[in-house]
Every structure is written in C-alpha cells, then in structure tokens.
Symmetry: C2
Subunit: 500 residues, 2 copies
Amino acid sequence: MRLDINRNETLPVYMQIANRIKEQILSGILPAGFVLPPERKMADDHAVSRTTVIRAYEELKALGLVASHRGKGTVVTERKVPESHGNDQKVFPLSWYPLFDKKIANVSDTVSELMHAGNHNDVISLAAGIGDPNLYPISTLQQIQRESPLESDQLNLSPVEGLYSLRESISRLMTGRNLSVSAKEVMILAGSMQGIDFAARALLSPGDAVIVEEPTFLQAIQCFRAAGAKIIGIPIDREGIRLDVLEAQLARYKPKFIYTIPAYHNPTGVVMSIERRKGLLDLAYRYQVPILEDDPYGDISFAQERLPPLKALDPYGYVIYLSTFSKVLFPGLRIGWTIAPEPVMRKFALLKQIADLHVNTPGQFLVDQFLRKGYYEAHLRRTSLDYQKKRDVMAKALTQAKGLIHFEIPDGGFYLWCRIPYQISQKELLALCSDQGVIYTPGNVFYPQESDGEHWLRLNFTYESMDRLERGLSIFINAVKKLNKQSSQTDLETGSRPIV
Amino acid sequence: MRLDINRNETLPVYMQIANRIKEQILSGILPAGFVLPPERKMADDHAVSRTTVIRAYEELKALGLVASHRGKGTVVTERKVPESHGNDQKVFPLSWYPLFDKKIANVSDTVSELMHAGNHNDVISLAAGIGDPNLYPISTLQQIQRESPLESDQLNLSPVEGLYSLRESISRLMTGRNLSVSAKEVMILAGSMQGIDFAARALLSPGDAVIVEEPTFLQAIQCFRAAGAKIIGIPIDREGIRLDVLEAQLARYKPKFIYTIPAYHNPTGVVMSIERRKGLLDLAYRYQVPILEDDPYGDISFAQERLPPLKALDPYGYVIYLSTFSKVLFPGLRIGWTIAPEPVMRKFALLKQIADLHVNTPGQFLVDQFLRKGYYEAHLRRTSLDYQKKRDVMAKALTQAKGLIHFEIPDGGFYLWCRIPYQISQKELLALCSDQGVIYTPGNVFYPQESDGEHWLRLNFTYESMDRLERGLSIFINAVKKLNKQSSQTDLETGSRPIV
C-alpha cells in the first residue's frame, strides 16, 4: 500500500495516512470487506510509530469508512444507507430562532420599515436618503445604451476589484476632491455601505469597541451591531467630532477604528473644519487607531470652498475612504468605491469573493461611460443647484416655526437636522404626520443608544419635487405647532410646565 | 431642570439622566461654565437615589462634558480642541495586520488567482465556472433594452427582497423545478453565493460546526472559514452524500447546518438519488439540523428525469434553497435567489440591508423581462445541447488516456471530476499545462483540508469554444502522459514502483 507520507508537510503524519487510505476507499480502489494491514505491519512498512497508525485507523473509524472486526482486523465497511422512515417518523418542526447567531439578533429592522413607508407614491417622504429621481440624466443614459448596446463583455464576470476602466475614471474624479490616487488604489463596491460592512467584518471581533459620531448614519450602527461591537458615540458640534471627548474615549476603550462622515454629515449636515480634521488625524496617529471615512455627500456642496478629505491629509495610511454614486447619480445601480491602504484592499478583495464576487458588470460599464464622456460635472452642478433651492425653501418654511423648530442651515448634503420642543412626543408627531401622508426620520435611529435623540429629527430636502416638498413641510410644521399647543395646555392644566 | 425619567424604560435611570443632560449640553441649553445642581438636590428633585445621580454625573465626566471643581460642584466644561502637533509629531505608520479579525485571516486567495489566470484571452481555461459567453442571448437582450430603455424606475432603489415582478417570474420558473412557491417566498440575492454568506452570517458563530460534502464548492469553504466555523467534510459516492458517515458526524459534532449541492454536484457532477435525498431529510429531521441546498446547476441537465429539489421534499421548513442565473444566463449580472423559511427570510433581509441594500435594479429588470417574454426555456435547451456535445467531446478525449485518467460521465452541470495517477505531482502537471497555455482546477481547493484531493482535478467543459476545448484537452492529456512516463521511469530506476 503506497501512502506518500511527506514529513515536511504541516499536516500530522497520522492524518496523511488516514487521508490517503480514505481516498483509496472512496475511489473504490479498496473495496468493502478489504482488510487493512495490521497496525504493526503498517507501522514497519512506512517507518512510523504504531501509535500513529492507530490514530489513523481511529480517524477512519470515526468517518465510518472502516470498522474493527475481532479476529479479522480493520475492515473497509459496506456503504449502508439508512432506511427512510417515511410517514410514520415523528418530525419536529424546526425552531429557527435559537439557531441564529446572537450578534445578528441585535440588528433591528428600521431601514426596511423606512424604505417601505417611502415606497408609496401618495406619501410625501421627508425620510428619504436619495436624490430627486426627476433629475436622473435619463436621456444621456439612454444615449449611452444606444451607443454601447449590451455585448458579452458586459455580461461576463468582472475582476473582483471592479472594471479597471471604471477604477481609472474614479481616480480622475478623485482629483476634483483633492485626492490624488491611481486606478489600482480604487476598488469598486456595491455601494459605500458595503465598505462599512467589509471594514466591520475585517476589523471587528465581538466585544471590540468602535467609535462613531453621535448621531450618525443608522446603517453603520446596524452594521457594527451585527459584528457584535461595542459602539461608542462621540458628540459633534459645529466643527465636527468633539476631539476632547474623543481623546478620553480613545484612551478608555482602545477602539478598533473611528467611523466618521466629515463632509455634510448624516444626519446633522455639519462639515468637519480643517483644524478638526488635522486634530482627528493627530489623535488617530497618537492612539494608532485607523479611520473609516465615509464620504457619500462631499460632492453635493453649496459652498465655495471644498475641504480635502481626511484621506488626502493622511500620508501614513491610517484612512480607509468610502464613497458612492448613489447620491449624485442613481442609487439603484448600487455602485460605490473604496480607497484604502494595500493590506485593507487585500482583505476587502477576499471578502468580496465570499460576499458577491464583484459588482454588476453592465452597471459598472454605464457609470464608466457616463464619467468618461464628461457628463458628471454638468449633472452635479445642475442637481446641486436644484438641491440648494430646495434647502432654501425648507429652511424658510421652518423659520416660520422659529422657537419651536431649531436647526442650522447646512452648506451641502441632503438633510436638515431639527430639534423639537421637549414637551412634544416624537411618537405622536410621527403618527400625526403619517396620518396626513408625510413621513420623516425620527432622531433616535441615528444614535447607538436609541433612547437618545428623542427630541431630534431628520428632514430630507432632495427627494421630493418642489411643490410636494412645500406641501409636506406645511403639514409637518402644522403638526409640530398643534402638538406643542396641546402639550403646553396640558402642562398649564397640571401645573408642571417645564422650566427649561 | 426637566429630565423626563421613565421608569418603565429598559435603560437604567442614571443613564436616562445622563442622556437628558448630555442633550442639553450639546444643544447649547446648558452652556460651558453652567453648574449642575448638587447631587443631593438633584436626587430630591427627581425622587431618585443619590447614588443614581452620582453615576449619571460620572458618566458625563467620562464623556468629558462636565468636570468636578472643588468648592464649585459639577460644571459643564469648555470644548477644548487639542492643538495639532504638526510636523514635529512622531508618527508611527499603522500596522494593519494585527488589527484584522482572526477569522478572516483563515481565508485564502484561491478564487481571485483562478479568476485572474482565466482572464487572458490566449489561455485556454478548463478552470472556468461559467458557461460559454458565445451563447449569451445578446440579440434578445438588446431587443429588450430597445423595447424598455432605462427609465427612472430602473435607477431607483428596489425593495430589499428584490423587485416583486422578478420574484413572481422566479416563482413560475420554480414550478418547472417541481417546487411550488409564491413570489413572497422568493428573495433576490447578488448570486447564490450571497445566500451561502448570509447563511454563514446568520447561523454560524466561531467554533460552530458545519457539514459539507467532500469535495465541495470552494467558495463555500472560504465562506464558512471566514465565519470561524469548523468544517466537517462528508464523503460522497455515486448517489451523493454518504448518509452513514453523515449520521456519525451529526451525532459527534452537532453542526449548525448541512451544506449540499444535490444536482450535478460541484466538482464531481454527482446527482443525489431520490432515496438519498429522502434519507438526508430524515437525518436532518432526526437531528434537528437545517439544510442549505445549493442548486446552481439543476437546470443544466442532459438526462430525461429531473429529480425534485430537497426543498420540494421538505414540508417541515428545514431547507434553505439557493439558485442563480449565473450558470444558464450570464454571470456578470450577479443575480441569484433564495427560497427559505420565513424566519430565515427575515434574517436575510436584515443582512441584505447592512451588506448592499438590494440587487442592482436594471439587472433585475432585464432578467425579469427575459423570463416574462418566455425566452428562458428555449435558451436553456440550446445551451444544454451545446454543453452536452462538449461534455461528450471531453469524455471521448479523456477516454484515450484510459487507465491514466479516471472519471465518471456526468448527466449535467459544468464539470468532469478526474483522478490522475498517484505518481504524478499535481504541481508539476499544473506547471506543465500552464506553460502551454492551459489551466484547470486542482482538486485540493475543493477540500476543507486542502492536503486532500491531491490526485484529483476538475475540468470545465462549458466555457471554451469547441475547437479551443479540443486543443486544451489534447495539451492536458499529453501532459498527463508525459509526467506519468517520467515518474514511472524514476520509479523503475529507484525500484519504488507503487503497488496500487
């Protein structure tokens, strides 16, 4: 019996012997009833110890491939197939819930509820996270489709990292964002969210700490929860993340990374100042903590000045940069990208292989053509102007309720972040608005600890057409006024009016 | 100071107090320098214990929002931003590798290597896992695009579970696979692989056992490795998974689920017999273990009879069924689906939200139109006939090397699974073939323990055109013969010729 034992292999010799015999049994070379050589003979023949042979035979027994027969030795078994018990077998229906991994049980279904709520045409959604579908450059896209109809190269697998041509186009796009990178440093993802998920999968083990701004993007919170992480929220002010609080928490929790949205932060609209960006990097360097920079809104700017992303300020390779086409172009294609240090790119490529192999090829073609033909800049200018007008309309409408609804006017992005009076119940406000066909996003979903944010809410100004936006705002503002009046009266009646 | 304490909330009262004060500090209601009420007064005012107030204040101190000043009490702090240290700060470049989660470190880069190797036009790939791009129904697809040009509904977000219309089309398609399901029981995924990943994420915690056939789909192995699972391989014979071995291992390991490819198994081409299917379900019921049924190849059948999937034989909700359009239609769209018990669908929907939100919308439209217009069946017949011819050509060519290359002829699917003589080194064979522009997949990548499968390899017969396939096979067979001759000579010279 030939066994090909290789003593340089990492696999233990007994496993090598078991595997070789297993192969020969399964390929039919050693038939059922075949008696394996006695342990001592086997040991002598192959210059191994008898213990090694015994362990190998034990392994084969555990696999059911051989059995010990007294007086006969170790024999290759018959392949027995148990009888089907048919209808008389008592089957217990499966209880799935105890089987699920506990980490995933932490994830709640907020997103899907919000998406479903916004899927009806009659509902005015101030809860959306996307741009105005009426502004999609449909005719340009149809022209691209006519000029480059589907061919088999568009239906084939792409490289895991994405089409090289699109990676090139994105590297040129990044120049306009003050970041100079080569195509090879760009990897295409199914939305920037996939980058958040990959960072969580690559870096977080259950119990690890991760730092987020508070409030922050709700799906990032869900994602970190699904990884079993401890999520530490750091408050933000008008200049972005509070570095003093951050430093205290870096020392206390030794987090795996810091997740931040420096440009037109979701949900607050805050832009992190240049000093704060530098200070954040300094802290990252001092505490050796990487930064996950999420930049979905950076291009949608109504301001003159455009600050460089953290990635552009970081010569030391601490920053993983994420962005997407879902906000400026169209969300249904699910195309985003990452620019990351090389070890991270490798991990992301491995994760991409087990997650979904690569991003849909024709979608990559379409966006690449759109970028190469120079349509992006004009489209961006057009949509930004439109969104700026809508922001102004929203800000003006809310100003009518000054003293009731507090907010700052953002210089870009998609949202106004509003504080409502303490005496108004968010639940009642949501119900009152939704009864009249208007939805918005309650503030608590943006907090790691959902009981926070009770008196805050996020209004989107990009998705609805101007007239629907105005109608929705008027309903929303009236609802706030109505509930405020009611609760003030109750307070007067019960004598417990708040002092603050 | 109003604090809104709710004693019915699950959040501890001290955290509620801390959160309310934090909100007031961050929103500017309580400015820097503001002195919080003394602990005893606070406790009395809100009918809580002094300890509760102390803990709330401690929490605020940890956040850096307040500080204790002797003689003054607890004071809201100034927002200090540390100075940037500029160029004189000594920065340590980040070591990424120690930061990565250990589970992910188990995943190797086999897939990407194989994909890259097959991306060159001049290489004849017998390593592919896809169909023949020359058979893509291009003109039909272009016609669909002309008839339904891109509109904004194709660029919008889809529901997390996929476009309802496509889910309906798939439910009709499943009728032809002997499985009757409603559209609501179908969820669209980015390839069936995403279903494997989701099952792993939903069900596996590190250290859990999972059962696979041995050999099996290599990306399933990678995926389960990334989840930190213990992968238990069960040998298969001509009727599929060995139930006797399976039963022993079910009792021994209590696995979280069984992953199986019952129809035209990858890589062996084996179809699980109906008796074996029933026996497998019996075991699943008896040991209360769910089954993940992967069915990418079921439609590509050269046989008269079509066996029902496990899902169709399971009235008790133990089976998660996965399939894909990547094999019959086009892999670049990345569209697959799952049919799963309701609790699993819910978990998958949550995972989809944090992974990539939904599958690319225009791709879903395209496939749905293709199915609705009735093109699928004709396309499937055409491609299956072509693949059957290629299988015959491959089998005939390999028969010339009878005695050297052992294989069974599969009734469907994409692959021939071959055993080569023990004395041939797989490494040398791979190198010799690749020097002459031919690649194939070595057997070891299909085994959980990669040192197995050394004398096996997988040949794909669907991807290459007929003449390239024949050329590739001729090179491959000659390489096997050459290495066999060489090693026989060496054996003769050294006198160690194998007895088997």
